[in-house]
């Protein structure tokens, strides 16, 4: 599903805004500042006060669904593995689920995990910004219950348009993952499959089941 480029002028009613945002539940869309007018500064101010992660989408402040403890565990487990691999192979850095990244004008997203290669980081040092302006090459989303297909489609559109090369959408309830190499091209992997880093993390291979079984203790050999 291709989402057309949003323009504030196209948005006549709240129904249009709702569609544009990917039918995010209304209780996640902030009223202040007025939808359509929020800036990056507003986002930073909101984020400072808020217990929830907030994104800036087409000038509206939209809360990200809070991650449950299990999802947080999965994110940490996967993030840790990618982080270690990236360090060992001198590939880049990993941002956790609170990393704000500017994808476009008035568009700031917080992927659940992002991998940013050194090749995109100026002076080989990750800058000290509240909102990163460096586009990751891999993002990971751990789907929450309130994430509709349209919302996910909108996020994919935002990521790929900004220059992300690979997106892993992980469903913690169905124990599946969808590997996107473009907004419309994806492969479904189940527990017998493997997450492959492709050209973004060359050599990274992780059996999907390891993510979901990370909740269980394994004897150390």
């Amino acid at each position: 599903m291709v989402v057309k480029a949003p323009s504030l002028l196209d948005i006549k009613s709240i129904a249009d805004l709702h569609e544009q945002l990917g039918y995010v539940p209304l209780d996640r869309i902030r009223l202040f500042p007025s939808p359509g007018t929020a800036t990056m500064d507003d986002l930073i101010r909101t984020q400072n006060d808020s217990l929830r992660r907030c994104e800036l989408v087409d000038g509206s402040i939209v809360e990200k669904e809070p991650m449950g403890a299990k999802e947080a565990l999965f994110a940490m487990y996967l993030g840790g593995l990618i982080s270690r691999f990236a360090e060992e192979h001198d590939l880049g850095v990993v941002l956790g689920p609170d990393g704000l990244t500017k994808m476009d004008e008035d568009l700031v997203r917080i992927p659940d995990l992002s991998f940013v290669p050194w090749s995109r980081i100026p002076n080989e040092e990750f800058p000290d910004d509240a909102i990163s302006k460096i586009i990751p090459t891999l993002t990971v989303e751990i789907v929450s219950r309130s994430n509709s297909e349209q919302e996910i489609a909108r996020r994919l559109n935002d990521f790929f348009k900004a220059g992300v090369k690979l997106v892993w959408v992980i469903d913690p309830r169905k124990h599946l993952a969808r590997v996107y190499t473009s907004e419309t091209r994806y492969k479904v992997i189940d527990e017998t499959g493997t997450l492959d880093g492709g050209r973004v993390l060359p050599g990274f291979k992780l059996p999907l089941i390891k993510i979901f079984s990370s909740t269980r203790r394994r004897p150390m050999n």
Partner: protein
Amino acid sequence: MVTTVEIESNTLADLHERLGYVPLNRIRMHPLIGEATEADLLGHLAGSNKKLYELIDGTLVEKAIGTRESILAASLIIRIGQFVEEHDLGMLSGADGPFRMLNGNVRYPDVSFIPWSAFSDREIPEEAIWSIVPALAIEVLSESNTEKEIDRKIGELFDLGCELCWVIDPFTQTAKVYPGDMEYESIDMNGTLDGSTVLPGFRLSLATIFTKFRKFKKPS
């Protein structure tokens, strides 16, 4: 006590609830939510593509209108109009007469009866939006009207000083008579709309209004 944090965590869901859960496509994004004014409302009323937007909590909300509702409202205006003229009681307004509520909202009742006593010296006000109090307000339900939104509208009308409200439901061919905003009486095709103390002596059977029309089935 409402803290700043509470206000700032207000979401579209809260707005939606305040507006009575009306369909989202009736809530305008421009002007910005909370910043719409009477001038914006009048701009649309006078515009080449005339649109009726009510001003609710600084937001423009499209008034639900339709031919069927309009026909029913016209039918009511004819009969009430006859009575009002005969007894020289006051004036009737149709669905495009905006009234200012006490809280600053601006509403368009489908039909309003304004007794002469509400005018100073029987003079029709110059302004586009009236602060005058209709004694009787009638709403003919459209498909996209929600119960909550109508309840709120009726509440505001009564706060203003309205004495009697009728809500006509073409889909069930019933009506609700509100002598005050906290209570109503349901009447069906066998029932009668009574002018009470607002239009003393006025009686209209619902059957008279609905008989001409085929039953309006509410699409599921």
